[in-house]
């Protein structure tokens, strides 16, 4: 295994076909430290500006449009003793008239115990003194250069990935992105120590991580939307507004996946999904919302091909 230790010299607020910061072979592993959503590093030093400054792009030799980039999230190790969140539910997750009653939005600090792998509010409000949460690390924003030479803000997401803020994008998960530019050009950053569904306060617990990912090109494997696999599930991701459209994208992608890799036609796939599908809300805060269409592997037929 080839391991690259990657220290960015600069950070990016878009995912696009930018000059590579690192070139690797397909199958190599990269170890890198991310900074937080507003650009602070593990020591609290401002290294870049927001939104969601990215490490990258990493150019994977041999990746071409029409391929998929497989990203195995091998490990995420917290490297800061604190993280932060916004303090109040976002205006777009409550009834519109209720927004008038929301308190002002501030940032608050969470202490991270890197031994116990837990986190708690530094100054908990009345009633939450007891709250100690286990860390559940995830990558908030990652993906590849989008199609057409686009460069898309890390505040949002699309077919190329981006700021999906989906809590299953953590250690042990494998993700596939559709390659649209030579070398795929992988970016990552904006990691969270914990995050509920929807990222409804507008943040997870924003902090710095050492992240280890293995990046592999799968030739001629056409995806439209990102796909993922955990120990228990496979899932397809749609990014759009409203949630209805994100769900349509994710479901359409899953139907294609079940057909291509599992040999299920639309009717068979419908029978299966109709009774076992799960939908997860990734984020319901960013310009594009994220919805995952997820299926437990225990309900899947055998794969027709060794596609991954």
């Amino acid at each position: 295994m080839v391991l690259h230790r990657f220290t960015p010299q600069t950070y990016h607020n878009v995912l696009g076909t930018l000059p590579p910061a690192l070139r690797i072979a397909s199958g190599d592993t990269v170890l890198t430290e991310t900074i937080d959503a507003i650009g602070n590093d593990k020591d609290g030093v401002r290294r870049a500006s927001g939104p969601n400054p990215m490490n990258g792009p990493i150019f994977i030799e041999g990746a071409e449009p029409g391929d998929a980039l497989r990203v195995e999230i091998v490990r995420m190790t917290p490297i800061s003793s604190t993280g932060w969140t916004r303090s109040v539910a976002a205006a777009n997750v409550v009834d519109p008239e209720t927004v008038r009653t929301l308190p002002p939005r501030e940032n608050v600090t969470w202490r991270i115990d890197r031994q116990a792998l837990t986190t708690q509010l530094q100054n908990p409000p009345a009633g939450l003194e007891y709250l100690v949460l286990p860390l559940a690390p995830m990558i908030g924003c990652f993906g590849v250069a989008p199609s057409l030479g686009q460069a898309i803000s890390t505040a949002t997401s699309g077919e190329h990935g981006g700021n999906m803020d989906y809590r299953l994008f953590g250690p042990g998960t494998t993700v596939w992105f559709p390659v649209s530019a030579e070398g795929a050009r992988f970016f990552l950053g904006d990691c969270h120590a914990v995050q509920g569904d929807g990222e409804i306060v507008g943040t997870g617990i924003e902090t710095s991580f050492e992240v280890e990912v293995t990046l592999t090109v799968e030739k001629d494997r056409k995806l439209t939307w990102p796909r993922g696999e955990t120990a228990e599930d496979i899932f397809a991701v749609g990014n759009a507004r409203p949630l209805d459209q994100a769900l349509q994208h994710a479901t359409t992608e899953m139907l294609g996946w079940l057909r291509e890799d599992y040999g299920l036609d639309a009717t068979a796939a419908s029978h299966l999904l109709g009774q076992v599908v799960r939908y997860d809300v990734g984020n319901v805060f960013d310009p594009a919302y994220t919805m995952a269409c997820r299926v437990a592997k225990k309900w899947l037929p055998a794969k027709r091909q060794a596609s991954f």
Copy 2:
């Protein structure tokens, strides 16, 4: 405990302030057999027409507007050897242009093994021969008479409940509905043997059940939207389109619940939900979609009052 065995003489396609079919005291238990979504009973005899013919209304003495009706789903026993589903994903859960490629929609039969508590397709399509699913019974449509003397179709849902098609409405779950009419006037029907998130083929496995529910008035307990509790979670339910608005209703209701019963102000509740909330898609098929905002009880503070 008082147990009423309730056999409807007629069924209803609306939830409204209709003449009571049964009158009970608060805290009584009702045992009743439901028919399926198109009106067939356990023996395949058409007893009513669709959509979703309801058993009820059950008048609970003492219930008045401003109260809540607590519904404990004690037991659901399958009483038919078959159920049915539609055969293809609904047009509104896939990308619009993809709808052109969907096969025609038919109804298919599932065999129900009432000893093993499993179900499988009677004539599985190629690739699904292996699929045997455990039963996971749920009530598709239930609720109380809505406000203003409205009578609302059992095809849809609202603040009063109705056709929410949420898979957590199963045995062991307790649900609260806001009372808007004298006697609350509880209806139920449209039970499913299994259903995935979203009811994306337009049905769960539609069949007949013997259902046992305990119905209790909680005086002066103002809800806006249905709430529920399982062994592990509490949840609030919003019914609307798009999913975004259903989520707003559910989240707003949960913020209210956390304030009233758990003493968390908007900031504290936001801190908690932001990191631990789960959203479930009830249905994404009916005229109103359903989204649940769910929190694991292990993360909640102690309740301030013995409100239920």
Copy 3:
């Protein structure tokens, strides 16, 4: 012509299959005074409670499910010297975070000059002293009993009509509603002296009118959604959320209309609508939003049948 002068003894907050308040023959004309959205009559006397108390139901002899009820709005005469509006844009028409900055909502009075047929604010805020608007009367809420024996709040709308708040529902316009109950059971009320698109402050200028309508049954004329015709246009109306779905309903209804009455297949109708269609936002405030799909009559082919 038979003219009925109709003075309600009671008002209704739902559209449903209620006992008739008046029975007329098809083709008769009804003259009635409406009260405002919160139930005040022309003299400021509270006669009923909100939302949108309705005059009706008017039973039209011979109307059966599967027919259409044609409603010609012959005349609307203002009968009060004042009207009122809410004072601030509704929370759901501005960006969610902007809601925090909106001033509190109050009711303000407009003076109505029944000679000049104009209206102006009684106490205009700085900068609006000049504003004098011509009256543009419209019926905010009207329609027929919905299907399935439903009774639906006058706060919202559906296939049966209801609270559509569309400014083209004024004098000179003819409207068709799908009949779902014996006698059609026509209701009307909630008239506005003026209203912009969308009813974005949550009201038009709410006041009392004397309204004259001619009600005629068109046998065996199946509509799904309300349709209308002015001197210059025909339009179909969809009621739903989000606006996207209201637009889908209205467009689908218009495609059907162009096929049935004008002989245009889906391709020909698409060619026409693609270049000449206009969409109007009825309301973007009520539980169901309203969108009209409108076509100028000058672009239409000759009708194939004397259908109306």
Copy 4:
């Protein structure tokens, strides 16, 4: 007046901070020929690939982030004898289940009479033989480089403008875009000979135009969304999905405009908009939908400042 005749050497499928193809002074006028949405020029020669290849970028000296670029559409002259449209309503403008019934999508040709300034189908389907439409030229896609160094596909739109497909973007209209990059970097293309609201067949009548625009920097004039002015109206444009959100953006921008330039606070602006606002659907086809919030100038107070 300085007039630049601009003939692109290359075309772009994104709006971004690309190297200038032309540099002009603020207030200069540019005359250029556009090609159609798939890259065909006036003679039917494929000059570029889709989507919506753009002429530009035009660098306007002195434009900096925080300024506005004023674009006066002086003239649009058709330069081709044909245009084309898609033949059937898009899947996303009809009810989802109706999509199954739509005929296949083809491209059809319209003849353009450049003397009479009219257009008609080359091979009209039965029933549309009579249809001759006056030309109503408009720019489908134009705008400036977006913020953050983004490069955004010409298939979609955003705060920077882009593929808004709004029929009021024609000769005589003045448009303002928010400047996010040095020189503003103006792009234009994708002109339509005619287009209904919503671009519901996925195209207007796509053809080539000679377009004359005058481009002027307005210093320190912060817009969030594009604004426009015709002889009769002012309007603000929002681009997003669903239409509800596009409407929110447009309304919020208009409230800001009325405050800044017309001295109306939120209450006064609400009084005005509530009774006179008009909403236009730009497109309801592209990835981002477009909604305009429009006000007739006859209802506006005097401007407080000579801001444009």
